[in-house]
Symmetry: C2
Subunit: 479 residues, 2 copies
């Protein structure tokens, strides 16, 4: 802290021609951003001159300039104050603001939409991975190398589709990890899975005309992206075999599914349903969006083939993300897109944000190519498998006869349905759960009904913490 | 390179139970991504066993598994080959692809839209800054620190509005650098200016109903973002004082301008026009988007106040970017938004890509807070000022009587109009210029007519290279 202002000033050395301008600019900035508050008295120009070892004349000239610009005012010759006008003149009244919002904001953005990030859950937080075992030293080293290479090239915008090295690395990764048939050119790099949904919604939806099936219960942020694009959402039920294909209405254009690990029920779509879904898409001329958000983590010997792998008619868009296998702050994901839609997706990416962060792309490309991703996923799979077992045992011990874990083979969460006839506390059936408790299934149902239950993330749940947390939860259950 | 395959295999140590699975997965991945081509003959299982020091049985078992899955086939007992089916079965025919695109892609994404990145220009490339003087060592150090701090926290999604430290740093930066009245909470961090345009278009445009004025000539990617949102674009002429406010039709809802440094003409909007524009917005109930993409670099003593600074009616959205002051690969920009529109913008950001890259945000926050941004801008301003003078002198020397530089006070490019009566080579009047030559003004005009001329970026034009490049261009002009 500086002696006379409660924030630091950065001034050039004495005698600099820049001094007046620097002092003026920094004080004006402090007034504009509120570090100097309206009505606040300023130190005297003498005190300022002394504190910063500048000439009195310079300090006086800066104050005069700020006075003439209206940023300061004098009061009864008792000193110099920050003018009130800044704060007073700018804001419109609340009613005027409401009117501006009403007239200028497109209707679908005016009011809150469900689909903000899923937060809360305490120990059983959903959708976030463990970072304590992440090889940050490797990431730092590869990041520094990417920066060195980047620094040698002239500045430029990058291709909207993605950096070439990353396209190749991701193609190998999905071919290996998920048996998804994919070459570099089939991919579009996105800023996380959310942007993949958003770009797909933009290119596949004609506002007011395109019907899109979403899983019920399902993932709210995906619904938001399609609703924002003007789609008509059609929630379709999910049972233990995944999306109930036989319930799909006929006039759908897009069907969104999470076949590896249904969100939130955690079940895998059966082989039969996968075949039926692809058959439906072919015969009814629909396309399928396969959201494989955490399918890298599997607890069965051989996973079922991805829909993208099974598809022979170019009808499946496969969406992946590095938010679960690496970390969500990275904001990198991808779409494996059929040839007929790729150019449109790349144009939509270009219009949305030109391209994704170059250094992050280059760092990730090296991280994958050098085998660190595969190694980290392998390591974390063992960790998550242990947590999953601890969770299943704990549920059996604490909630046997009350909650029944639904079968699942992959991912970072489990769902447990209330056993028929068991007494259920009111909070378990509510959509707006206590953020310190596991999310309720109801949170992910857009319509009333559906099975009551809880969703337990184990991405950040230390195995040793699971038992005590469940004991505490059981206590809350009893009320 | 490995001895028997033309790509490296990463196998666990001998005796590992993972060995079979690793070899199988990596060969399958190589088949799926094309490193092993359909019809390609594989080395014998004996050769594989020898090359990787694994048991013959393991190699045979992996081949058998791949054969049973259909990835390989045997041919006349002469060996094992990659199956052709992978390549042959998947792609639909071209006509089927065209039909899928026609039926499934929303009309506005089906065909190429103007507005891809502006590329080419040779020495006089537009819109890219000089990186050779960028303090990459500082960036690396701050990036490493951000990563260390990040590694200590549990993984999580970040607020869509932006990381708190960055919101505060940017607020101070714009208050200081541009006298834009702004507190942290007035900001939304975006992935570059392009995403700012995209989010604004999404929240302000009702498809088919909202008319948006854009400058003519103007910046194509901004037009793309608004067209993609379904806006009706209304090109409005620009003269030496900026947008011709008197030509604005009455039923506009949104007016997009580049007042500090018009793109591409490079002029500044006069104080009179600024006042008229704000008056128009108030009286006709329109809002203004002020795109200040490179206004940090100024060559006059005191810049005119930003529209956002002058506005007293909450009608101005101020868009800034770090693509010019730092580097385009960073993908960070921001909107200073009136209170009534902020929540909608944050929701749109959430739906678009959840939030921007966390490590890049944290690194930038420290870079600004520690004064490195201000220092770099100051330093680069001197460099660019020198290049600008070299360009003006060179134009006078080589193109006196042919091209007339248009007045400008800021930014990283200049425009020069063809002098009345001068002979003009055909390429100067075309929209699709030679990528080795400066961009033509025609490239940025959506309608025929308008003054012929060239646009000279000097962001990456070394002062010493400018003279020779202009001499060469003069040669091409004559020839």
């Amino acid at each position: 802290m500086d002696p006379v202002f409660a924030f630091p000033l950065h001034l050039p050395g004495p005698g600099s021609r820049q001094l007046l301008r620097a002092l003026h600019g920094q004080l004006r900035a402090a007034i504009l951003d509120g570090r100097l508050r309206p009505g606040q008295r300023l130190p005297s120009s003498r005190a300022v001159a002394q504190a910063y070892a500048i000439s009195r004349n310079t300090a006086v000239a800066v104050y005069d300039l700020l006075l003439s610009e209206g940023y300061l005012r004098t009061r009864r010759a008792s000193g110099v104050y920050v003018a009130d006008e800044q704060a007073a003149a700018a804001p419109a009244g609340e009613s005027e603001r409401a009117a501006l919002a009403q007239r200028h904001l497109a209707a679908r953005w005016r009011d809150a939409i469900d689909g903000t990030a899923i937060v809360g859950g305490g120990v059983f937080r959903l959708g976030v991975p463990e970072l304590s075992l992440f090889p940050f030293d490797v990431w730092r080293r590869l990041g520094a190398r990417a920066l060195r290479q980047f620094a040698r090239l002239p500045a430029d915008y990058a291709p909207a589709q993605g950096r070439e090295a990353l396209l190749h690395a991701v193609a190998q990764h999905v071919a290996f990890a998920r048996a998804v048939a994919c070459r570099a050119d089939d991919l579009v790099i996105t800023s996380g899975a959310q942007q993949a949904f958003d770009l797909l919604a933009r290119v596949l939806v004609t506002p007011g005309r395109t019907a899109v099936a979403v899983e019920e219960p399902g993932y709210p942020p995906l619904r938001t992206a399609f609703a924002a694009a003007g789609a008509t959402l059609v929630p379709v039920g999910v049972d233990g075999e995944g999306l109930q294909v036989e319930l799909l209405p006929r006039d759908l254009r897009v069907i969104c599914v999470t076949p590896s690990h249904q969100f939130p029920l955690a079940c895998a779509m059966s082989a039969r349903r996968r075949a039926e879904l692809l058959q439906f898409a072919r015969s009814r001329d629909a396309v399928v969006i396969e959201d494989d958000y955490d399918g890298e983590f599997r607890y069965a010997e051989r996973p079922l083939d991805a829909l993208q792998t099974l598809d022979r008619g170019e009808r499946v868009f496969y969406v992946g993300t590095f938010s679960k296998s690496l970390f969500p702050g990275l904001r990198l994901g991808y779409v494996v897109a059929p040839a007929w839609a790729r150019a449109a997706l790349i144009r939509a990416k270009q219009a949305s944000d030109s391209h994704s962060d170059v250094l992050a792309q280059d760092t990730l490309a090296a991280f994958i190519a050098e085998g660190h991703l595969a190694r980290h996923v392998r390591r974390m799979q063992a960790v998550y498998a242990q947590r999953r077992v601890a969770l299943l045992h704990g549920l059996q011990r604490q909630f046997g006869g009350l909650l029944e874990p639904l079968p699942s083979l992959a991912g970072l969460h489990l769902a447990a349905g209330v056993v028929a006839g068991a007494a259920v506390p009111a909070w378990v059936t509510r959509a707006d759960g206590d953020p310190a408790r596991p999310a309720t299934l109801r949170r992910f149902q857009s319509e009333d009904g559906g099975r009551a239950g809880l969703v337990f993330g184990f991405g950040v749940a230390d195995a040793a913490a699971i038992g005590p947390a469940l004991a505490q939860l059981r206590h809350a259950w009893n009320g």
